[in-house]
Amino acid sequence: MSRQGWTPEIGPGLTLAEVVDEAFDYRGNTTIVRRDGAEVVGYVFNRNAAVPDPYLQYFDEAGEGPFTLRYAEIATIKFTGRDTAAGNSWKAWVERRERERAEAARAGRLISGPDSSGRDPDPDGR
């Protein structure tokens, strides 16, 4: 399920580290809200929570970067950008293609099949 549109509230049930992990997995831009209230839009491509001063890295909306931001400076992260992975699965494509083929086949029958009089428009099967 896509996180697109998610505005998590950090609290007892949800840590900032968990939200950063979700942002790292997210294939769209996010809005990083800093503790000083400033916001920055960008793509979070890396994070390291295994160091004494955990940090994330991102490219901003213009593609500039990479920029590094310490967890300590972050209030939360909003999942504001389009999830580029959503709806692009192999399964969705196969289903779409099968649907289109079925529709094309139905349309073909309507055009070349027996007409309303019951006569075959192509009795020789050409």
């Binding site: 294939r27 890396n46 389009r82 692009n88 699965s89 293609r97």
Partner: protein, 338 residues
């Protein structure tokens, strides 16, 4: 098998040199991704699912060459994205060839014919054309009709001009062994040097996990596909890897064998999984928790993976680990019997 003798010699001396130095973890093929942008949008391909500003970015040639030097692997595979959309691909390839790196330029071949003039045939350069099966199967895999025919025309043109051309096929769940055998016939009939095959990739972020082959099913499929191989078939990969795919070996993954470098840095731990990035190759090798990956680790994401970027290096390592491994490889190479 179809790997040229000079390339085999280079790889053999490199691997033996690493072993002589007592190195247990060393790279074999650098996966160099100069960009993620592509002119196809294959369903489930995690490489192109990024916001626009990321897809517009690419590495500089200089940064690519730094990565190549840092890594030191004798072979460089350039996937992507579509590398022929990289604006400096000709300069990058020329620099790599000048450094005597064996380059596999992995392309869907849509732009290959019109860009052939940018390159000069060399034993160090091979166009590795993405072909996932016969016409209908391939066009379905890449989600666009007509790509197979474009690729065939490009392969013919490249072969005619003296380039090394190989094919690179990802075999998905539900593939027909019989059709794949027909596909092998067709590719060899085009005059390609050899073929590379691998089970479906299993990107953690790819949304179609259910379509990727599970190990046992994979072995069965590849056994049916490769049993009694025709003499005309040539595979541009380790014969022991093919035997592994057929269930005749039980290898463990070598995630550091094919390190991946792209605009984000050095990808941890491998080409398929994205658990983070290191700033340098040294940092990647020294700070990645390698024990957390591979089947023995219990990592759920590694359990069904049999992809070449994890196991080809294992197969090569196995070849040079014992006389038995060497004899087995030599036997398959000379007899063609898998």
């Amino acid at each position: 098998m179809s790997v040229p003798v000079s390339q085999m010699f280079t790889v053999a001396t490199y691997v033996l040199g690493q072993r002589f130095r007592g190195r247990t973890r060393y790279p074999l093929v650098l996966m160099l991704e100069p960009l993620f942008r592509c002119n196809l949008a294959c369903a489930g391909c995690g490489k192109i699912q990024y916001p626009a500003q990321i897809l517009k970015k690419h590495l500089t040639v200089e940064r690519c060459l730094e990565a190549v030097e840092e890594c030191g692997a004798p072979m460089v595979s350039i996937p992507g994205g579509e590398p022929l959309m990289y604006p400096d691909i000709d300069r990058l390839v020329a620099e790599l060839v000048a450094r005597k790196k064996y380059v596999y330029l992995c392309t869907n071949a849509i732009l290959l014919e019109e860009k052939l003039d940018l390159f000069r045939p060399s034993k160090y350069l091979s166009f590795s054309v993405h072909m996932d099966g016969l016409r209908e199967d391939h066009d379905e895999a890449v989600c666009r009709d007509g790509v197979y025919d474009q690729a065939i025309a490009a392969i013919r043109a490249a072969v005619a001009r003296g380039f090394r051309v190989t094919t690179n096929s990802t075999i998905f769940d539900g593939a027909s062994p019989l059709r794949m055998r027909q596909f092998f016939d067709e590719m060899m009939g085009l005059g390609v040097e050899g073929m590379m095959i691998s089970p479906g990739y299993s990107y953690s972020k790819a949304p179609d996990q259910e379509h990727f082959l599970r190990r046992a099913k994979t072995a069965q499929l590849f056994r049916e596909m490769l049993t009694e191989p025709k003499r005309a078939w040539r595979f541009n990969q380790s014969p022991l890897f093919l035997r592994f795919l057929m269930g005749k070996h039980d290898f463990e993954c070598t995630p550091w064998g094919n390190p991946t470098f792209n605009i984000f840095g050095w990808q941890r731990p491998c080409y398929l999984l994205q658990d983070g990035y290191a700033a340098t190759f040294k940092e990647l090798m020294e700070t990645t928790a390698w024990d957390n990956y591979g089947r023995k680790s219990g990592n759920e994401r590694c359990q069904d993976c049999m992809v070449h970027c994890g196991f080809e290096a294992t197969a090569v390592h196995h070849t040079f680990s014992s006389l038995r491994g060497l004899a087995e490889t030599a036997s398959v190479t000379f007899t063609g019997r898998l």
